[in-house]
């Protein structure tokens, strides 16, 4: 186990990096979810203009790598004169990027409800507002929850990219330790193990949710 000595010296630093990764992911998940729900609503219930605007947004976001958007935000922010700390800059980019994928998940949740649910709500004399609040949203959100959780795991993995534009989190922390200890194999495997613990926990939770959605309770 002597080979893993560098990891023993660096693990506390890695854990601090992991804390930053979680903070960044959590800060992005909240606005991404809200924007995703808004985009999904606009696409399902909006008029033709709103629908095509959302489709255009999804096309652009889904066709460009996140790394391109992060890199150019890093270079463009100073040029546009927007005074935003880098942390919030990347949180905005991550949110806007993942909002596109979230909206797909929520849209699928809304659309996969059987027509009978809409008809039943209407036949009970519910207003549109009541129909959405009481009948549609609770069920759609439950259907959307398993893919939502796996998207969150994806977002945690994606935060590793912000190290390329110089932000400090788990991947950057591991690179710093590698520069000091010259033990890339051990340190990066240590970092991978931490990412695995976070993402696999989310994956297991997603599978649990999926089972409970399938069995209807």
């Amino acid at each position: 186990m002597k080979e893993f000595a560098p990891l023993l010296h660096g693990y506390w630093y890695l854990f601090r990096g992991a804390g930053m990764t979680l903070l960044m992911a959590a800060s992005a998940i909240v606005p991404a979810t809200l924007c995703g729900i808004l985009l999904a609503m606009a696409q399902v219930f909006g008029n033709r203009f709103a629908r095509s605007a959302v489709v255009a947004y999804l096309f652009v976001i889904r066709g460009i790598p996140l790394l391109v958007l992060l890199t150019f935000t890093y270079y463009l922010l100073p040029l546009t004169g927007i005074d935003l700390p880098p942390f919030w800059g990347v949180v905005v980019v991550l949110s806007l990027y993942y909002a596109a994928f979230m909206s797909e998940v929520f849209r699928a949740g809304i659309l996969s409800l059987p027509r009978g649910q809409w008809d039943a709500a209407r036949s009970l004399g519910m207003t549109r507002q009541q129909m959405l609040h009481i009948v549609i949203f609770p069920q759609a959100l439950r259907l959307a929850s398993p893919p939502f959780v796996s998207l969150c795991a994806n977002l945690v993995k994606a935060t590793s990219l912000v190290s390329v534009v110089g932000l400090w989190e788990l991947t950057m922390a591991s690179r710093e330790i590698v520069e000091r200890t010259l033990a890339p194999f051990q340190i990066f495997i240590g970092a991978a193990a931490i990412y695995f613990c976070i993402c696999y926990t989310l994956a297991l939770y997603g599978r649990h949710l999926e089972r409970s959605v399938l069995h209807g309770h």
Partner: protein, 217 residues
């Protein structure tokens, strides 16, 4: 000066040269993963230790960031004696990660064929070979084309991460040009448009293939 025609005339050939590397990486990764993913999926569907290893592989590669996998291959392997070039490390890491995703797509496709189909084939007196080639595999292929198309798009975008291990793909070329020219808008637009074209081509190819299959059925 944004939108300087002389600058753009020099920029585009450079970006296209980088795009060549991007396309090469994407096609090689997708082709290798189609085979490697199938091997992993088949190993995973057996009973015993082989299935256990394949399952662990899938979970590990899917729940750790691609960037960390690239660092392990690029920096880690050179530390323990067999260094690979940036391109080879990038390709290997892309295949390692996407092989896990592709294996899951195959698994989903195989599971979607109901046991009744096998029973019906056997009841008609089909041999094992005929059963697979004329009943099971056509249905599996029809079901995996849409998720495979998404995976191809995601691979195309993922190739941008090789820029972090000094491969001159389109992302890296763009970084170099932004840093040496400070003409951020032009470079950003150019890169974004080329990536959009590449992912749209992948998406269109998938749609075309899907329509062909629908027609054949």
């Amino acid at each position: 000066m944004p939108f300087d025609p002389h600058f753009i005339a020099r920029l585009i050939p450079a970006l296209l040269e980088g795009a060549e590397v991007t396309v090469e990486l994407a096609i090689l990764t997708f082709a290798i993963c189609l085979v490697w993913g199938l091997i992993v999926a088949l190993a995973n569907s057996t009973h015993g230790p082989l299935s256990w290893i394949a399952g662990a592989y899938i979970q590990i590669v899917r729940n750790t960031p691609l960037l960390i996998q690239m660092y392990i291959v690029y920096f880690g392997f050179s530390m323990i004696g067999f260094g690979l070039s940036g391109f080879a490390s990038g390709l290997l890491a892309l295949c390692i990660q996407n092989g896990g995703y592709v294996a899951e797509i195959y698994r989903g496709g195989l599971q979607s064929v109901s046991p009744r189909q096998y029973e019906a084939g056997r009841a008609l007196g089909m041999r094992r070979w005929t059963l697979y080639t004329s009943v099971v595999i056509p249905q599996v292929i029809a079901r995996i084309v849409p998720p495979m198309t998404n995976q191809a798009i995601s691979i195309t975008k993922d190739t941008s991460q090789v820029a972090a291990i000094a491969v001159m793909d389109m992302m890296k070329v763009a970084q170099v040009w932004v840093e040496s020219s400070a003409n951020t808008y032009d470079v950003f637009l150019g890169v974004a448009i080329i990536y959009l074209v590449l992912t749209s081509v992948a998406s269109a190819a998938g749609k075309l293939f899907e329509r062909r299959l629908a027609f054949a059925q």
